[in-house]
Amino acid sequence: MGRLDIGIGEWRAFVEQSPAVDGRDAEELEAHLRDQIADLTAAGLTADEAFLIAVKRIGKLDDVSREFAREHSGRLWRQLVTSDGGEERETDSRWLEAIVFAAAAAVTIQVARLAAGFPGEESSWLLQNASLFVLPFLGGYFARRRGLSMRHSLLTVVPFAIAAVVINLYPYVEGGSTELLVAAHLPVVLWFVIAYPYMSGTLDSHERRMDFVRFTGEWFIYYVLIALGGGVLLALTALILEPTGADVELIFEWALPSGVTGAVIVAAWLVESKQRVVENMAPVLTMIFTPLFAGMLIIAVVVYALTGLGGAFDRELLGVFDAMLVVVLGLVLYGISARDPSTSPGWIDRIQLVAVVSALVLDLMVLGVMLARIGELGFTPNRTAALGLNIVLLVNLAGAAWVSTRFLTGQSTFHRLERWQTTYLPIFGLWAATVVVILPPLFSFI
């Protein structure tokens, strides 16, 4: 049997080369191979013959590992296994595409800035429309990259056009709160519009929705990195040029807006073409920050439970709370998208549940205070928007807590947890759209 064992060993080493097949899968395949060989030798074949036939029956290892790769939904595997040299070269040559779209966005924002006379005069028009000068280019970039058909490309344009018409036709009262609410919610709405070209027009696919969540997280990481680098670059440039008497303000006026918008598309291109880099980094980041945020949330819950929320509560604190809840949700969502769904519950899942439950408790406290204020002082655009956001978050967090408890106790699968989040995803976009489209007329644009 010595020679046979060597043969099997070599075969297994070959199987394990595929990144999509882990040690246990390889062990399972080897057990299969050995069973088959045993049956064939029992039927009268020699060990060598049996080995050859058994290997052939298992099939081409490339095909098998590709099939495994498809199953391990983490894109990493798909990328590693299915990309061959040709694809690699293709992504390299596509940087030009990204640069063109980034430059177009950068120029557009400058034109808009000059038209608004910013920063000479305060312009709420520019503030409201800023995302409309940037995100359509990102949509266009994806439409092109995904090779969308004419019909799908046109469908991508429609929501942008509607948004542009709606927010510019509404007669906002100057300095009112609906104006600011729209400015804050429109980027969210448009980001969800990007999902359409990103997912090649297949909005129903839960797997693609998860990909979009993953993209959002990775894009954010790249964007922050670029912003940090850009900030250092700008500051140093200013410091170096100052002694020469050059107008430093000018650099900020021209370089900053263009950089901020161009980076939106460059970051998207980086996520698309340098996926492997960020995929190695992102799970580590969630692993570090999930426990930290969980700890912070627990402290917040304990402190506010002791001191009571009512006294300290004002509009700014409410904003901070909402921002924090959104960040926690983002972290949880990204953590889910980056996790290998086939592994059984681990410590990170428990910590995530702790974070979700504490966020839920905080959200309930905030909601209580908010309802009391609304009962006392009535509805305003700000209070309505905040109330809606908190309810949307509450339902999501409650559902997530429930499903992950069931997952941790072995009554449900991780798949269900993914499903809950991907099913819920459109509701965030719809709520943001409600604030942009329905809320202003409801409060007569104050």
Binding site: R24, D25, H32, L61, V64, E67, P341, T413, H415
Partner: protein
């Protein structure tokens, strides 16, 4: 009816897509008979289909992975009294429900095909047994 004999003798080369589509209900049905492991599942597939359903053995394992991810099966490493360490799969309640749904769909298709081909009642019966 002379066609039937010809068909029985010829090796029926079943379309790839059809094999792929029937793989999930077949594996679930086999696991509904009792827990099993990869190699035994494949042997059972050959047995049931009289050797006419040709699978590439290796492809079973990614499929089992998928069924596990969807929560249709549980899996566990075990060493039987005699024999080597194997991964055993057992169907869950969700798997049973999925199997029932698959059955319903296949029966509908089979019935429709049977009607279209003129009173071919045999197909639904065959499915009923599987």
């Amino acid at each position: 009816m002379y066609l039937d004999e010809d068909e029985a003798k010829a090796v029926v080369n079943i379309d790839k897509d059809l094999v792929a589509a029937s793989a999930t209900p077949l594996v679930l049905a086999i696991l509904a008979e009792g827990e099993s492991y990869g190699y035994a599942i494949l042997k059972r597939v050959r047995e049931i289909s009289g050797g006419e359903l040709e699978w590439t053995d290796g492809m079973l394992y990614p499929l089992l992975h998928r069924l596990h991810r969807l929560g249709y099966v549980t899996r566990e490493w075990r060493i039987p009294p005699e024999g080597r360490r194997r991964r055993y799969y057992a169907i869950t309640d969700e798997g049973q429900a999925a199997l029932a749904e698959h059955k319903r769909q296949w029966l509908t298709v089979a019935r429709a095909l049977g009607d279209a081909w003129g009173g071919g009642d045999l197909m639904p019966l065959a499915f009923g047994r599987a």
